[in-house]
Symmetry: C2
Subunit: 429 residues, 2 copies
């Protein structure tokens, strides 16, 4: 075993500030003023599989959102993007089984019609209903399941943990587990700046076609904090950029990425503006919630057996750090080696070197599985038995210091396995 | 079945000019003045597996070369890059089983010592011997196999097709077949500009860690044309940029990519300068040879069952076309769908849209397996039975017209299969 110290990863990366927020029950329904439902509406043939989720605020409230940057953006993204710009919303209707992408004007009409059905049932403005879809690309989405399903979903709307769980289940595609988070913590945002308990909850779906750029596959978050639109959007964008946008399963950015935050203000108190202490606390909680869900996406990557965290240190700037981290995280050779429990760190070096970022190979340090394996570009002796033992952990860590500057990036990914090939070799069949 | 016309791919892409060159016997030894050998020297434990190749010109001759741009460049790349800059060489010594990469100054010393042994046996200047290695990264390369192997290889040097074949076999790693090419054609480069028969031959190894950038894994080419150094380098660089640099198996650029051209001038005749008619003909033949080998790399990609050709048309510029083509060719979702015989063209659209290249999705056409599947961003009816039938072919074609401009790019790749995961899950063990 090597006597070398490990590469030092700053605590700002390993333990982002949480300001006293801690886990609680409730999923997205942890936020006061939020009800949810998840049902089988008929987008999928299997009647035992939920395929429609509905999230509703008790009244129209602040909303913020981020969407895919894929040029082939789906119909629901086009509809929701323009509506979310208003800064307020009442409900989000989601489906799995069909992405309503590459469906042209007919697809946009179905997306709008689905929101009209929700608006009618809730008695709100159609413009206050957002929509999101996930599933196969290039097939027209039928309206029928909305016509029969929306009234049922509205009937089942509930503030319970079970209802939140049903909604999280209903958006799953190749996900093997529902992915939810809920946090609670004190924030000085009451009427006289006294502390009130604020909740942040949410769910996400995402397992394949995952390298979000602006948002991940489908995510709905809610808080009961009275955030202004500006504050909600700033907190969401900041959180997404360092969490969902740092996950890659297979480098394939989805056509449907959507992340929506509803802020009900059900805690009461004064509106929380950007730049206040209360904003900082709630933004940190939203970031914690997003990081929790982002790690769950990577851990549940299609076919994955490992959650892999890649830290790049010592880069000239953040962009270089991100490029090198993604090159490693997306390398099929690195990912298959991890699947095969092969401590083949040469592939990490190869991936770092291929991506056009300037560094001197003789300045580079690499740690793999918590063991120093390369220092100043030269290999250290490695105990293969010890490395095999370390591969038994469900998490794999990679750290590389480029020795150029002070910037860093962290990316989460997973291994590349036979199951990934199996899942994606016959996804439509 | 659709009545739409297929996207038109210009003949300059589908049939590059060959100027009357046609296939012949001989591999790299087709070039007059070239001898080769391939032996088991002991880099690999299996005595039945060749692991050392030697290519020698009868006398010191013109050489050109291109190398990896990976920042972690291997010791043999460092040695050969500086030596090839002289424009002349006598021999190339190659090994498989160990890449001599991430081996620091000791690795450079072994690479130089190996060339000294060759120089001693041939009675030439050590600076005229180039070196290339392929195999595992991060392990010191022993000199022993060179000490015993070089005299044997020199003894076996021969101008025969079998000798060329032995050399091609000796550099194989996960390659399942040796990859060779030899072409012959008339060129007006004799003493009085009369036609002489010119040969271009070569071999390449490459199957995984393949997304060359400046050259592919290991390739040695030879011609008996009397090219000047300037002409040889120009012809090689031009050919590599549209052939080896357009292949991707797994997006992982190797640390050891090396492509060397020896021009013996054994045909006699005047030196062939850049800008002459004879140069154009030989440059086209070198390009044909490189394209032949490049396609063989893609077809023999690790675990591959299909050779996939991706054509991007109608791009604003060549860089955009290349970016979109690589996004498609490197998409694990596209590659696994092809493995699974799933005509899931939505993933092609998704990959094209994710890579930051600007286009309007409603201007895009896509052909898949020779069938129009998307026109102006909208899906056409698809006969799934017919598509399944078309997947029986060993080649898969993808064409996408972005509808922006007139630039195009062609990239070769392969599918992503269980065997890729198996091969790379236990490469070192």
């Amino acid at each position: 075993m090597s006597q070398q110290d490990l590469i030092s990863v700053p605590p700002s990366i390993t333990e982002p500030a949480s300001f006293g927020f801690s886990p609680c029950e409730g999923g997205i329904c942890a936020a006061m003023g939020i009800r949810a439902a998840g049902i089988h509406a008929g987008f999928r043939p299997d009647p035992n599989r939920k395929d429609m989720a509905l999230v509703v605020a008790d009244q129209t409230c602040t909303c913020a959102a981020t969407f895919t940057t894929n040029r082939f953006c789906a119909a629901p993204v086009q509809v929701s993007r323009s509506r979310a710009a208003s800064g307020h919303a009442r409900a989000v209707i989601l489906n799995s089984g069909n992405a309503n992408a590459s469906t042209g004007e007919p697809g946009v009409q179905v997306a709008k019609a689905s929101t009209a059905l929700v608006a009618q049932a809730l008695g709100c403005d159609e413009e206050d209903v957002l929509v999101a879809s996930t599933g196969v690309i290039g097939q027209q989405l039928p309206l029928g399941p909305y016509e029969t399903g929306v009234p049922v979903a509205v009937e089942r709307l509930d503030h319970s943990t079970d209802a939140a769980h049903d909604a999280a289940r209903a958006v799953m595609t190749t996900d093997t587990v529902p992915k939810e988070v809920s946090l609670v913590g004190p924030v000085a945002c009451g009427m006289d700046d006294d502390e009130v308990m604020v909740h942040v909850g949410g769910f996400v779906k995402g397992s394949g076609m995952i390298m979000p750029n602006m948002a991940t596959m489908l995510c709905v978050l809610a808080t009961d904090a009275p955030l202004t639109h500006e504050a909600a959007q700033a907190a969401l964008s900041a959180a997404v950029s360092v969490t969902f946008n740092k996950v890659t399963v297979d480098s394939d950015t989805s056509t449907n990425d959507t992340c929506i935050l509803l802020a009900t203000g059900a805690t009461g108190g004064n509106p929380i503006e950007l730049g206040t202490d209360a904003y900082d606390v709630i933004a940190a909680a939203i970031r914690c919630a997003c990081e929790n869900l982002a790690r769950k996406i990577a851990a549940d990557g299609e076919g994955a057996t490992k959650l892999v965290t890649v830290d790049v240190l010592g880069a000239a700037n953040e962009s270089d750090a991100d490029t090198v981290a993604r090159a490693i995280a997306n390398s099929p050779l690195v990912k298959t080696a991890i699947f095969g429990h092969d401590a083949n760190w040469g592939r990490i070096a190869g991936a770092a070197g291929k991506c056009g970022v300037a560094f001197d190979q003789y300045d580079v340090d690499i740690d793999f599985l918590g063991v120093p394996v390369l220092r100043a570009g030269l290999p250290l002796p490695m105990d293969e038995e010890d490395m095999l033992q370390r591969f038994e952990s469900p998490e794999v860590t990679i750290a590389i210091d480029l020795g150029v500057g002070d910037s860093h990036a962290r990316i989460w990914t997973c291994d590349l396995t036979h199951d990934y090939v199996t899942i994606n070799g016959d996804y439509r069949t």
